[in-house]
């Protein structure tokens, strides 16, 4: 079964990975999401100019820093998902070839990526709570 479906499964997983993208500059989902955050960041330009005192400007600067951190965290999560999809394609191919050691190695990559994303989310949530 795995052998018969391997070419199509590999194609689908590689296409999904390509759609997410391997950076945030090419035409892909990561670029679009990165730019959504950029739009939010740029929107602080007017309020920053309007702020009449240092306290107001500092509050906007903090919002700016938070947006940059959120942008980086989301981009890293998508990078992890991209990596996991490619590893899943490798795992399926190894399964189709009956190579148990490679299946395990690829699944370990996926588990590590998921753990990294989970840790990143937990750290980011904690940072946000401590700021608020």
């Amino acid at each position: 079964m795995a052998l018969a479906t391997d070419p199509q499964i590999s194609k689908i997983l590689n296409l999904l990975a390509a759609e997410i993208g391997d950076d945030h500059t090419n035409v892909c989902l990561r670029t679009t999401i990165y730019r959504v955050w950029n739009t939010e960041k740029d929107a602080l330009g007017g309020p920053f100019l309007k702020a009449s005192d240092q306290t107001g400007k500092k509050a906007i600067a903090q919002q700016y820093a938070t947006i940059l951190a959120e942008r980086a965290a989301e981009d890293e999560s998508l990078a992890g998902l991209h990596h996991s999809l490619l590893a899943l394609a490798d795992a399926h191919h190894a399964l189709a070839q009956g190579n148990d050691a490679s299946v395990l190695a690829s699944l370990t990559v996926i588990v590590n990526d998921l753990q990294r994303s989970h840790d990143l989310y937990a750290q980011f949530s904690s940072d946000l709570k401590s700021k608020n």
Partner: protein, 118 residues
């Protein structure tokens, strides 16, 4: 599932990104808060179209779509001029509106096309 992105829509996506970069740069240089807010509003409009085009990247191509995107590319120079004269806010907003009108035509056309085959 499509094997590759529609290159005409890739061109449209890149044009929108280039305009967004120009708007972003203009916001950084703005010294008037109202001008910065006006640019930001248009920036959101451009961003909305980037998301729409992202969702259409695997639609089929057509000669009509190619002509429509060519019109967008031709108009992008006028928008760059409008951004360069950013202090004339009304002209700037009109420039963005004209550009986005052409973008919307291309997006509406792309929506009617079939998804690319695997």
């Amino acid at each position: 599932m499509a094997t590759s992105q529609n290159q005409t829509l890739v061109t449209l996506y890149k044009s929108l990104c280039a305009q967004q970069d120009a708007l972003s740069s203009a916001i950084q240089k703005a010294t008037d808060a109202n001008v910065a807010d006006a640019i930001s509003t248009e920036n959101y409009e451009v961003m909305h179209r980037i998301v729409l085009v992202q969702n259409l990247l695997f639609q089929a191509d057509s000669p009509e779509l190619q002509a429509s995107v060519k019109a967008v590319k031709d108009a992008s120079g006028q928008l760059e001029s409008a951004i360069a004269n950013i202090q004339r806010v009304t002209d700037f907003i009109n420039g963005v509106s004209s550009y986005l009108e052409l973008v919307d035509k291309a997006i509406d056309l792309a929506k009617t096309l079939a998804p690319l085959a695997a």
